[in-house]
Amino acid sequence: MGSRLVSLPALAAALLGVVSVLAACGSDGSQQPLNLSGGVPVGAVLALTSNANAYGQDQQIGLDLAQRWFNGPGLGGQAGGIGGKPVRLRIEDGGGDEQGASQAFNLLIDAGVVALIGPTLSQQAFAADPIAQRRGVPVVAPSNTAVGIPQIGSFISRVSASSAVIAPLSIAKALELNPGISRAAVFYAQDDAYSTSETTIFQKALTTKGLKPVTVQRTQLNDQDFQNQITAALRLHPDLIVISAQAVDGGNLIRQLRELGYKGAIVVGNGMNTPNIYPICQASCDGILIAQAYSPELATPINQTFLKLYKQAKGGAIPPQLTAQAFTAFQVVAEALERLNRRQPLGALKLAEARTALMAELLGGRYDTPLGEISFTPDGEVVQKNFYVAQVRMQPDGRSGRFALLNGSPP
């Protein structure tokens, strides 16, 4: 074999030399003044690839619409950007894993963004948010619902209400619609942070209602065939099935449940809260119950503007919750920037100062958003007043459908 021997000290010294040169180049510029040429830089990290892209697509539309709304003159009473400067949003793909989200966070922070929106999945947030926290960059999460996200640090906040708040509502609604329910079965994706986090809340809510689950079935995110779990569950004759899964696997699970003859009620969690499930479970989607943090029927001017923009962009469709939350995340950042700019002009601030001041401003404000009026607790958890429960109604052809809000305010 011809490979030569390299001496360890020489190798290590050479590599360390390269490293120190790189480290010298990599100073992070947070003591420089905030660079406003081309607009106020804000970053977003969304899952545009991987299995989670079903969510990322919804979010991307929300951010695009919000940017157009906020920077455009006259729309919704905005005078176009912040003190005449537009908000310049840069969206990076964080994929569906921890490494991708961390890398995208670092990339955008290096690019000098004043705040970050994202990442899409809670699991990614546990990896990427500490980086933003250490580097002092405000994060507004548009879709992380797992318990403990804002507690990662003082710079982390979210506009997506925790599943601990939302999940029990749909169970209560199912029981209200059908008081005869007596046997509940639970399904969840055991290899997913969001699903396992949400299922504990679902199970607690069921037990509180006197419906201890007759069976708990575990699935996996990449599963396609759920026949084993379904037959095991159906043998126990459940009349309510509660599912915590993501869009693709959850859609397939519902479809197979109906195909194998299950006729009872189905309650699903936030992971299936996207119209992108329609092509997967098609006609079988009909009738499933989902708690909502967003109502298209909310009659406020900002929601009407958002609805109008979305309908223009998507040919009359109704916006899903993820899109509304992404829009809200952008709005929160933009309005906080605007208030900050009025008190201290952004151009005079160093980047690090601007980030810290923005975080304080962001948490202190109240926002009139498509989700209704929201504010934040001191540790960054969203305070939202209105939640809803929707039922999926599919068209007879099974191709398209809608989330129909159920009347009567949930308890």
């Binding site: 790189l22 990599g26 699991q123």
Partner: protein
């Protein structure tokens, strides 16, 4: 700093590629690397978050504690490899690959369902031994350099030559008096230790650790590093790991097409260079060219 943290990820990938390549040196296709990587990560995550005494008083996590974690992780992974290796290494070729995939899956499902591993959410808020990616990079580079040196040494050592002999013809090697089982087992244990050490650094670097880190997908990715880089020298897997980890990030300007381009590179690489990018012949040729240039 995004550049620095990418370099850390590249270094960790190179370590994992070295780990896959060691059993391959004696002709054993083992895909168990992500399993041991996960073990290393869990050891680090559990020790640093549950054992308060390790944390010390300083703001950053003390370096000796990190080294202790690495020691424990190496021991645990080595022990598991010893235990599992003896029966599993009786298998050959594709059967060994399947058995090692099963090992990775068993560890993953175990980690998902055990109480102390945090389930699918995993363990988060792992303390930081370094203030920024620069420290991680220096540490990873030292680790990588040490293992590169060991792998380069192997070519001149009895163990390395025995491994090569087994790869060429196991029966002939045994006839020449090489204790083939022991040599294969040694390679497997070394491979496990490298992966576990990479796991320790990765757990701190990622801030969080969960069962998704050691999955079947990761097995295939690490194998791709070796196939792309070439398995016949120590440099091949290292280059494979570095390049294939860097590529998706470097392709970001391409936009939505980046993963398609990345896939094409993985496809075209082995098609044009079936032995991998780096082969001993190519290295020799490069070395000669370098020398004649010098004169």
């Amino acid at each position: 700093m995004s550049g620095l943290s990418l370099l850390v990820q590249m270094g960790l990938a190179a370590l994992l590629a070295l780990s896959v390549s060691l059993p391959l040196r004696c002709g054993q296709l083992s895909l168990a690397t992500p399993g041991f990587y996960a073990i290393g990560g869990y050891v680090a995550a559990l020790l640093s978050t549950r054992w308060q005494a390790l944390g010390g008083a300083a703001a950053t996590y003390p370096l000796p504690s990190l080294l202790l974690e690495m020691g424990v992780a190496a021991l645990v992974a080595g022990a598991v490899a010893l235990l599992v290796g003896r029966p599993v290494l009786q298998l050959r070729g594709i059967y060994l690959a399947i058995a090692t995939i099963a090992l990775v899956e068993m560890l993953r499902v175990l980690n998902l369902n055990l109480e102390w591993s945090g389930g699918a959410v995993g363990i988060f808020a792992i303390p930081q031994p370094f203030a920024g990616p620069g420290g991680y990079l220096a540490f990873t580079v030292l680790l990588l350099a040490a293992w590169c040196w060991i792998c380069a040494r192997l070519d001149r050592m009895r163990l390395g030559r025995a491994m090569a002999a087994i790869r060429e013809d196991e029966l002939a090697a045994r006839c020449m008096g090489i204790a083939t089982t022991e040599v294969k087992l040694t390679a497997f244990v070394l491979s496990a230790v490298i992966a576990a050490l990479a796991g320790v650094v990765a757990a701190h670097f990622l801030n969080t650790w969960n069962a998704r880190q050691g999955s079947f997908d990761a097995s295939i990715t690490t194998l791709a590093f070796v196939v792309f880089g070439g398995s016949r020298t120590w440099l091949g897997p290292v280059v494979g790991g570095l390049v294939l980890t860097a590529l998706p990030e470097l392709l970001r300007p391409v936009g939505d097409l980046r993963l398609i381009v990345f896939g094409l590179v993985i496809l075209i690489g082995p098609a044009l260079f079936p032995q991998g990018l780096i082969t001993p012949e190519r290295l020799d040729w490069l070395g000669r060219a370098w020398k004649s240039q010098g004169r």
